[in-house]
């Protein structure tokens, strides 16, 4: 005998006449024997009858077929792609989904790139180094430092750095020494004002200053109201007052430029320029050396200076060319250069450990005139300690002046030549 539970489950289908023949027989047999299932069947019957009765008024009254067949529209082939459109609407193209998924990643990437760019731009220690041009290495009396952004500091301590754009002013009975990168010392007398544009260019507005410029690959320039002073490595005194500028040269060569004019000053010479001066004329005078003596009495604090130089000049040099020896401004007065002559005092004839030399000849404007490499044998074979090097470069170039740098190449040998002079041979034809 089948279980009541199973039978009772199948009763609805029995009523619906949806049981297979054998199932139907089993149910009928069970119902004859089991009063509770019989009772349940009658409940189902009543329930089903109720439902049929319930729905019978709502049954389909009219056949819709006729209406439909009379109103059949055109088959819509044009909407064939609607399914595709729906498909795409439901499943947007993969690249778009992926792109959307990449938005957070892209955002993070943008942030990383921004962070990188900002960190690149952020002033680092090195960038700070680049702005530092010098240190005050001696100070007495009232010295004021004006920073680039208008900040004023009343007392300038030793060790205080000067950055690009800073000015130093000395009051009456005061003086200071500023040591620039590269070891150049500028001694400021009382009542002077000087602005540092970088470690090789300063502007002097008033007062008296003594410059002890260390040679480097770069020119050193002093800008004054009445003209510019250009030097390579030398010592000179500059006095700027309200009407004139006087330059006294105590060592080396200095060039003074005013407008289109220029004058080259040698040791012991001086030039005085006023705003109306039309012609630059240097004069030799023994008083030149005396006029610079004031500055010799003031010496920089060696500890400060050496610390500064150790800290900042350890930075790699910016120019690729380090000249072993440079000859300043050989005036060539716009005449084409034929050759240069190098002089030395050693006897090199039997020296087989000589270095080779690169010789760079450039105009004052740093335009290369020519560059040659001289092998040691050429020096050995030269007679009387002099060697003429022909201009194989820009023969037509006309420059006011030029300078010559010799750079040893020790791959040939390590013995260096001490050059004592250099002469320009001009093409006068």
């Amino acid at each position: 005998m089948a279980s009541c539970l199973k039978i009772s489950c199948e009763l609805p289908s029995y009523l619906d006449n949806e049981l297979s023949h054998s199932e139907k027989l089993i149910v009928e047999k069970h119902i004859q024997e089991c009063p509770s299932c019989r009772r349940e069947l009658s409940q189902y019957q009543k329930c089903a009858a109720d439902l049929y009765e319930q729905f019978s008024p709502h049954r389909m009254q009219h056949d819709v077929k006729q209406y439909v067949m009379e109103h059949l529209p055109e088959l819509d082939y044009s909407t064939r792609d609607v399914a595709g459109l729906n498909q795409r609407a439901k499943h947007p193209s993969i690249w778009r989904e992926r792109a959307i998924r990449l938005i957070p990643v892209g955002f993070a990437t943008v942030l990383v790139v921004l962070a990188f760019l900002i960190s690149e731009q952020w002033p680092t220690d090195d960038a700070w180094h680049e702005h530092v041009v010098g240190v005050v290495s001696n100070v007495s009396g009232n010295v004021v430092r004006l920073s680039d952004f208008g900040m004023t500091e009343d007392t300038t301590d030793l060790k205080q750095f000067s950055s690009k754009g800073d000015s130093i002013r000395t009051a009456k009975d005061s003086h200071a020494i500023v040591t620039l990168k590269g070891g150049t010392d500028i001694t400021l007398d009382e009542g002077s004002a000087i602005t540092f544009q970088d470690n090789r260019q300063v502007r002097m507005d008033s007062g008296q200053a003594y410059f002890n410029v260390t040679p480097a690959n770069q020119l050193f320039r002093v800008l004054t109201p009445y003209g510019d002073i250009t030097v390579f490595g030398t010592q000179f005194n500059v006095v700027v007052d309200s009407e004139s500028v006087r330059v006294d040269v105590t060592e080396g060569v200095v060039r003074f430029e005013k407008d289109q004019m220029y004058e080259t000053l040698k040791k012991g010479e001086s030039v005085e320029v006023r705003s109306k001066t039309r012609r630059l004329q240097s004069t030799y005078s023994p008083a030149v050396a005396e006029r610079s003596l004031w500055a010799k009495k003031i010496v920089p604090n060696n500890l400060v200076k050496s610390n500064f130089i150790a800290r900042y000049d350890a930075l790699p040099p910016k120019t690729e060319l380090s000249a072993e020896k440079a000859f300043n401004f050989l005036d060539i007065n716009n005449i084409p250069l034929k050759a240069i002559e190098l002089k030395w005092n050693q006897s090199l004839g039997s020296n087989y450990d000589l270095a080779g030399y690169h010789v760079y000849v450039t105009s004052f404007e740093e335009e290369e005139i020519f560059h040659r490499f001289i092998e040691p044998s050429e020096f050995r074979n030269a007679r009387n300690g002099r060697l003429i090097i022909e201009n194989n470069g820009k023969r037509k170039l006309r420059a006011k002046s030029m300078y010559v740098r010799v750079v040893p190449d020790i791959s040939y040998g390590e013995e260096k030549i001490i050059f004592s002079g250099c002469k320009a041979i001009l093409d006068l034809e």
Binding site: S13, S36, L75
Partner: protein, 198 residues
């Protein structure tokens, strides 16, 4: 049904311009379409309109039918869509009434604990309606297909896309659930002792 022409064959004939084939399909499925439309919009007396619209819309988009052998369940989808469109269009005018399939907040307990023991016919009708509302949604369309239009299990399974065994299980469980509600109500109303199946 299957010893005549299959749905797929009829669909192909329709697409090739044989409107008689569509007439055959309409004859086959109009009851089911009507019952489905009734399921959605019967309350508002628009079941016939909606089933006509559904059959016309289905004919129009026959070329889009990807699987002609599943015409019946596709037709059910079209009918549902047509009905829901109808409800959306007429929503403003009918939103004060509660249509049959949307009245889902009543639980079995609510239906059982109906305080007014119904004797009158009208109350009985409402009782049955509520009882159907308490059925799980999946049960309701088969129940209506069965008791409204007396479709066979085979036809229902064709139309809803469920297997015949699933349909059979659904209808068995649905009727037993309805019976419990209605009989209990009946017996209480007749003052008889509560009966329980062992």
């Amino acid at each position: 049904m299957s010893n005549v022409q299959s749905d797929a064959m009829l669909v192909h004939r329709c697409i090739n311009g044989d409107t008689d084939a569509y007439g055959e399909l309409v004859t086959r499925y109009q009851k089911a379409v009507y019952a489905t439309a009734y399921y959605y919009v019967g309350r508002f007396g628009s079941a016939e309109d909606v089933s006509q619209d559904a059959l016309l819309a289905a004919y129009k988009s026959l070329p889009n039918l990807k699987k002609p052998d599943r015409f019946a369940s596709w037709l059910k989808e079209v009918t549902c869509r047509t009905a829901s469109n109808w409800l959306r269009q007429h929503g403003k005018t009918i939103n004060l009434e509660t249509p049959l399939p949307y009245k889902r907040t009543i639980s079995i307990e609510d239906a059982r604990a109906n305080p007014e023991h119904v004797f009158r016919k009208q109350d009985r009708v409402e009782m049955i309606q509520r009882a159907i509302d308490t059925l799980p949604e999946r049960f309701r369309l088969p129940v209506i297909l069965r008791y409204l239009q007396e479709l066979s299990y085979q036809e229902i399974s064709h139309f809803t896309g469920e297997s015949p065994d699933e349909v059979r299980g659904i209808l068995q469980r649905a009727l037993s659930q309805l019976k419990e509600i209605l009989v209990e109500d009946d017996e209480q109303s007749q003052g008889e002792q509560d009966w329980r199946r062992v």
